[in-house]
Symmetry: C2
Subunit: 495 residues, 2 copies
């Protein structure tokens, strides 16, 4: 892609200044419009070192209202970042609706400089590019507008600029000291750059190769590209708003999934008090040592608990963590999203919670809310929850590729058992708070939830993140099954 | 304090189990009540290594609803944390109202282990303890309930436990590898520990020395202390709610401050277009090099801009950053606080924004909102804004002690100039969004705002964080004065 770029392009100073004045006013207006319409925007700057990136970004920022953008400078991943999948540090920084996130170097850093320097295995780069593709696609699907600019300069210009920078004593940002020899290897970086650009140039997040031998020319080119695409998007969103205030199509009913997975669950399984006590203690003891092996081997563990109200998710979790070291686990209860969470991509709040290497995150309800409660209660569009199966599988694949052990439990009970538990909760003073109006209302939609759960189990049980259905009518049986599944999986995965 | 503790205390297993059952129910209830009343709670665990801290914390967590607490494990500060004042990493982790933050080791780590190992100069420890005192006092004043438990064991018990831990191959958390020799020096750590406990044992955040030779005894003691203090606080808050729904006393008028500081400002100062251009360019060039010296010398810079609506804060900031490297500065516009921000201590959102060593944070409005808009518009109680002068000075002292250069600008204009600017803004299409109803309303309260500004300037101008009053009727003069003040201060501070 880069060899076809004409790097001799430039612009006269007068013309530049006139254009900037015009663009400044238009950019300000567009930012306010995008804010009102809730369009989230991501702008990525990549390019050769010494391509003038800092200067160009600063010029790009000047017309914008600081209230609505955030600039993220991407250096070498720090220790904490290396303890999570690569893409985590970027997922946590996506803009809220209406805001602009600008990345001064980005998720492409790994596929370029770090790949080049550290000789990262091809498999890891493939995973990395896959993670990037998922990331950009999921954001674009959710209405994020993505700009990727690659600042291209010639080898000669780069060399002159390095001399200038050295002369002035300006620190080389972004690249760490140990990287500073590598960034000058223009010829050897070229093929990697070409490959990276080709593999990640998609319709929803295309690369804009920008000639940057002349900084003024580059600035104008970038601003013009940005203005045009943002104007187009604003026009589209405005039109859509006019067309229909609510285009939701809740007509979809999936009949084909019967006979259901859940119908075949044998809910009569149980344990006696004696068996329970013995098995619980045995598995808890094994889990106690396993947590330290997990920690030493730097493997993260993600446990997901889903299931009917009052099915015993909390009790199951409690028996898991009872003997564990609180420095190694976190229980993350997932409730109604906050306003801030709602103003981001649906998966944002879950990316924020993924565990570090060697640690466990235990989710009491999870991202599966998208295809359960949000589907049944019409809290998202049909298009959104149907898309979520793929998004969830991608998310779990990224976790798994990083080395995370992912286990998911569906705790199953039948409606009669649930009714009894609800009644019991109402009778015990210190348990009454657990039961709310919503619980009774959800009960009435049992069939819809069951259909949703069935489809979820079918579409998201993968080799790397399997579901375990737990027969939950007998709490003792259920708790031991959870413990046993976790223990056996860990013994199998850990050395 | 420690020599008077009877470490032989223990408890029978049966008694322990009965008590825990009782406590579990009461703790659950108290947590729900504190949640409803919006009481924020902080629980600190410190103590000897191998005092059973992890186990005790895990038992303490079991009765709690994970929705309402967060456990923070405090290890050696990471690179990013060392680039900010010590207390920053804890300020950012304070709980929201109604929530519980539990610290597994805490801000005392530095005064103990790190002090011991790294032989930190006495002056730094004094600053550190001062920062801690400010921190705890400010939180307590704001209604935070603070528990500090020190787990005390004898040297003999500690040695036995270290043997056990080694035998089982359990990793030593919290202390880094290089620290592991030091944590065993019981005798040499003792005087430091005594001193630290004595110097930070305050009425609003007292230390509870807890005998932990027997883990069950310690657990029961901690839970009982927690339950009792939380019950007392809940009773007090409930009573207060009954007494008066609104005890705000907006009767305070400060007459003594006349003649006002602002009355003496000479607003006739101005610059010609030619002078302006020349001086602006000269100072911008000096600033351009100074930013790299600031970076190299790892000094953070905080600039605060306050002033009347339309006084030119934004324009002044723009001329500062126009030539700067966007990797080194951030403009932080402060608007109405979000719900999440409102549910924390007032200073929380500002602690979240302080710059790293070598970087600049430029605040367009700031923490001074507490004693300006919040005072005038009755958005906080009189007690709160009167307390804020001290809180603000403490905050800036902490920044300054870390090496931060703090400069504050009050851009001053007169009401006639403001009126003209408002009218002009309404006429220009792309500036009209800048002017709102609120601006016109605030204008009517000019006198109240002026009184508040006067008192603020008087009470918060310190040697370590001085105010500069900028004569703002002439924008050119004002912009150059801001540039000049920043440049001269940096030249004076930097080597």
């Amino acid at each position: 892609m880069l060899d076809k770029v004409d790097l001799s392009k430039s612009i006269e100073k007068d013309e530049y200044e006139d254009l900037i004045d015009e663009f400044t006013i238009r950019l300000g207006e567009l930012q306010r419009k995008a804010w009102k319409l809730g369009i989230p925007v991501i702008v990525v700057f990549e390019g050769w070192h010494a391509s003038g990136m800092a200067e160009i970004i600063n010029r790009f920022l000047m017309p914008l209202n600081p209230m609505g953008f955030e600039l993220h400078t991407t250096g070498k991943p720090c220790a904490q970042e290396l303890r999570k999948p690569l893409i985590w540090r970027f997922w946590t920084k996506i803009p809220a609706r209406g805001e602009i996130a600008i990345f001064d170097r980005s998720w492409y850093r790994r596929a370029l400089l770090e790949h080049f320097i550290h000789d990262i295995p091809e498999k890891e780069i493939t995973n990395c590019l896959k993670g990037i593709t998922y990331f950009e696609k999921q954001l674009a699907d959710d209405g994020y507008l993505i700009f990727k600019f690659f600042l291209h300069i010639s080898k000669e210009v780069q060399q002159k600029r390095f001399e200038y920078i050295n002369g002035k004593g300006i620190p080389l940002f972004i690249s760490e000291e140990e990287e500073q020899d590598y960034i000058k290897e223009y010829d050897r970086l070229m093929p990697l750059t070409e490959k990276m650009l080709e593999r990640t140039d998609t319709s929803h997040a295309p690369w804009n190769i920008t000639e940057a031998n002349d900084l003024n020319f580059a600035t104008v080119r970038i601003m013009a590209t940005f203005i045009q695409a943002l104007e187009n998007r604003i026009a589209k969103v405005e039109e859509k708003h006019k067309e229909s205030e609510n285009e939701r199509d809740h007509t979809y009913i999936n009949k084909s999934l019967k006979p259901s997975i859940l119908e075949t669950v044998d809910l009569s399984r149980k344990l006696s008090g004696h068996e329970y006590k013995k098995m619980k203690e045995e598995y808890q003891e094994r889990l106690w040592s396993l947590q330290y092996r997990l920690f030493m081997q730097k493997r993260p563990l993600v446990l997901v608990f889903e299931g009917w109200d009052a099915s015993g998710k909390g009790g199951g979790i409690k028996r898991l963590v009872q003997v564990m070291n609180p420095r190694l686990y976190r229980v993350i209860p997932i409730g109604v999203p906050s306003d801030v969470e709602l103003s981001h991509h649906y998966m944002w709040r879950f990316y924020n919670e993924i565990p570090e290497a060697g640690h466990m995150a235990i989710f009491d309800r999870s991202w599966y809310g998208r295809v359960l409660v949000e589907r049944v209660e019409n809290l998202c569009t049909d298009r959104e929850w149907k898309r979520a199966y793929r998004e969830i599988n991608e998310f779990e694949e990224i976790l798994s590729n990083y080395g995370t052990i992912v286990l998911k439990f569906w705790i199953h009970i039948d409606p009669e058992e649930q009714l009894q538990r609800f009644k019991k909760r109402e009778k015990i003073p210190h348990k009454r708070w657990k039961i709310t109006e919503d619980d009774w209302k959800n009960r009435e939609k049992w069939d819809l939830y069951e259909e949703a759960a069935n489809e979820m189990l079918q579409k998201t049980s993968t080799t790397y993140a399997p579901w375990t259905i737990v027969e939950g009518n007998n709490k003792k049986y259920a708790r031991v099954k959870v413990l046993r599944t976790v223990v056996e999986k860990l013994e199998q995965e850990l050395e």
